[in-house]
């Protein structure tokens, strides 16, 4: 039994300073209790308590690239970051593109008891963009999020067929990495002032916008549930906003790094600032930040992309794309949303749990609800000096953060604690 006292608790009815009692894998009661009967008592004065965080977008590198990360280290990073559920991208080696591979991924994930890991399925066979993956077989194995993340489906014809298939499967989501490769093939950073300055080919924001526009049209046409991954441009925000206004059910995510950084950080070409989509302009950053505040962008997802130290210690143009994000997300999102507890949990827990179909997550604590919880101190200052992840390719390594996860509780067990 865990008794958490004095926290500001996000309840379904609002925010209240009260006591939450966890017993077994559920929340047993809300409100003052007299006797603790030897329970673990946590004084969380000043901290927020709410549903455990949910990340719709992580790369756990297993199977195939476990020198970068594996499920165990990824789960440790998740717990340290306040997460209780992850959606793992299917761009493993081999990619998750068949029913058998989806079932195998599910079996392996069941061995992890500190965080719930669900694996997304690829949209196309081998993520090659040429033919449909085993969508139905993966769906039967429990897959709900489908994506070729790392690439968009290149052809509108194939994507339309995929959308028609998935529109018939309740809860299935087409998640797209919006990047028109014909416009980005040689690019390494945002096309703009910094690509001009360095003379390095850029990725124009138009490359993201044209795919978002195409996908919105096809989603409306087919009735498929569309989710746009890591939105980074003002243009994509405008397109999503317009589609929402016209009644389309489309969801979107943004990463913490696109909320906190823009291309001006690239006056020196640091491989730990190389990711796709790239850091955009300050006005793009303002647009995605505003959209997250409004809810036009529903969720924050980290796009946690671990790489080994030596893999990133290479020329910028040869560096692999991606940065890690699980352990710094909560602090960065808290800063980006301006200390708004309700929005913090909505964007980092409730919305992603809804989008990913994760019923046991994103539920504000109430008697009988699953004990997947996080205690977060929005005022605590700390500096990430090392990570539970195998990787350290973070632009925030050594930078002061405001807001710290104090404890993560998964299925009633404390999976991480620090500074309580």
């Amino acid at each position: 039994m865990i008794v958490i006292e004095n926290a500001k608790v996000l309840l379904a009815t609002g925010i209240e300073e009260t006591t939450v009692v966890v017993d077994g894998d559920i929340v047993a009661s809300i409100g003052p209790v007299v006797t603790h009967n030897g329970a673990r008592v946590i004084d969380a004065a000043g901290a927020w308590l709410g549903p455990g965080l949910v990340d719709l977008h992580v790369h756990l590198r297993e199977p195939g690239q476990t020198w970068k990360e594996d499920l165990d280290t990824g789960a440790a990073a998740a717990a340290a970051g306040g997460f209780t559920a992850l959606v793992a991208m299917p761009n493993t080696q081999p990619p998750t593109d068949t029913g058998a591979r989806a079932a195998a991924a599910r079996e392996r994930a069941a061995e992890i008891d500190t965080v719930d890991v669900v694996t997304a399925g690829a949209l196309t066979r081998g993520r090659a963009g040429a033919e449909m993956a085993e969508l139905h077989a993966m769906y039967e194995a429990g897959t709900r999020v489908f994506t070729d993340d790392g690439d968009a489906v290149p052809g509108a014809g194939l994507l339309r067929q995929i959308m028609i298939e998935l529109a018939g499967l309740p809860g299935a989501v087409v998640a797209e990495h919006a990047e028109e490769r014909e416009l980005t093939a040689a690019g390494h950073l945002n096309e703009g002032a910094m690509s001009a300055l360095h003379g390095v080919a850029g990725l124009p924001s138009a490359a993201e916008d044209v795919i978002v526009a195409r996908d919105l049209v096809l989603a409306a046409d087919t009735g498929a549930r569309l989710h746009i991954q890591h939105v980074s441009t003002a243009g994509a925000v405008a397109l999503i906003r317009q589609a929402r206004l016209s009644g389309l059910t489309v969801t979107a995510e943004v990463t913490p790094h696109h909320l906190m950084l823009d291309e001006s950080a690239l006056s020196e070409l640091d491989p730990n600032l190389k990711m796709y989509p790239p850091l955009r302009t300050s006005s793009d950053r303002a647009a995605v930040s505003e959209a997250l505040g409004e809810g036009i962008i529903d969720a924050v997802a980290t796009d946690h992309a671990p790489h080994a130290l030596a893999e990133k210690d290479v020329p910028f143009e040869e560096a692999p794309r991606g940065v890690i994000g699980l352990e710094t997300a909560a602090a960065l999102v808290c800063s980006a949303l301006g200390d708004d507890q309700r929005k913090f949990f909505e964007r980092l827990s409730m919305a992603p749990a809804r989008i990913g179909g994760l019923d046991r997550h994103g539920v504000p604590p109430q008697p009988g609800s699953p004990a997947n919880l996080v205690i977060f101190d929005p005022g605590r200052r700390w500096v990430p000096r090392s990570f539970a992840s195998k990787a350290a390719n973070s632009p925030f390594l050594g930078k002061e953060m405001v807001g710290k996860v104090l404890a993560t509780i998964h299925d009633g067990r404390i999976t991480y604690e620090d500074g309580l």
Binding site: E191, G192, A193, A196, L197, G199, V200, G202, L269, P315
Partner: protein
Amino acid sequence: MNGLTTLHGMPLGEIEALLDAGQRYAEFVQSGEAIRPVLAGRTVTTLFYEPSTRTRLSFEKAARSLGADVMTFVPESSSSVKGESFRDTVLTLAAMGSDALVLRHSLVDAAQLAARWSGLPVVNAGTGRREHPTQTLVDALTIRQHFGGLAGLRMAIVGDIANSRVARGHLSTFPRLGMELTLVGPPSLLPPANPWNVPILTELDAVVGEVDIVYLLRVQRERGAAAGSSESTYTRRYGMTAERLPLLKPSSVVMHPGPINRGVEIDDAVADGDRSLILRQVSNGVPVRMAVLDLAIGKSE
């Protein structure tokens, strides 16, 4: 000064010191006086991942003139050089006893990485499309010799700006030395943005009569299609032709980093005429590189 990986952000005093030393070496070379072997007993290794006979030879001659031993590394394959093997090559050359590296590479940050990996002074002989510091110094010295200084002069850089390391290098240094730059080229060969806040034009005739220096870039013929025009159209719009020469101010000059494409971006009459500083640029190549090797390597002990 420990190596010369970039001119970007270098204190103006150090740039001036390099130009002053370049001037002294130019005078030494001219007069045939004996030059102090400041690099005696030291090994300078040239490492060129892109073909550039002229720059490499002028570095090697400069190093030998200062008494250095020279090693020349020729990468087996310049097109598919990956980060790992580049790093290994740099470490190998350091372990073989190089005291300094002179590096040309297609990757933008190769010089900084080579310096960090090897711990050796590295002289940038052209990296990515970002910079070519010794060309910028050669051109600065050439301009200084001709005009007596750089401040207040106006230069138009003409041609394939998007792909030019020389243009980008000039853009980050010449304005700091008081010059005003204008970029001229076909729209598809201009950079995608203007972080330098300089005028960007698509017609040479709009500015040719106003600038002190017309700086022509080599037309890279394989990119002709990207320019959206045939060579003859390019020459008509952006070439320094004999017909365009009278439009220049009487005091204005024409420069080119070489090698030149006669009849494309420049006519014979211009290249070989009295308004051309092209040969002067070439002859400043060795003394400026002597100055760089002297100041950036010779005194690092």
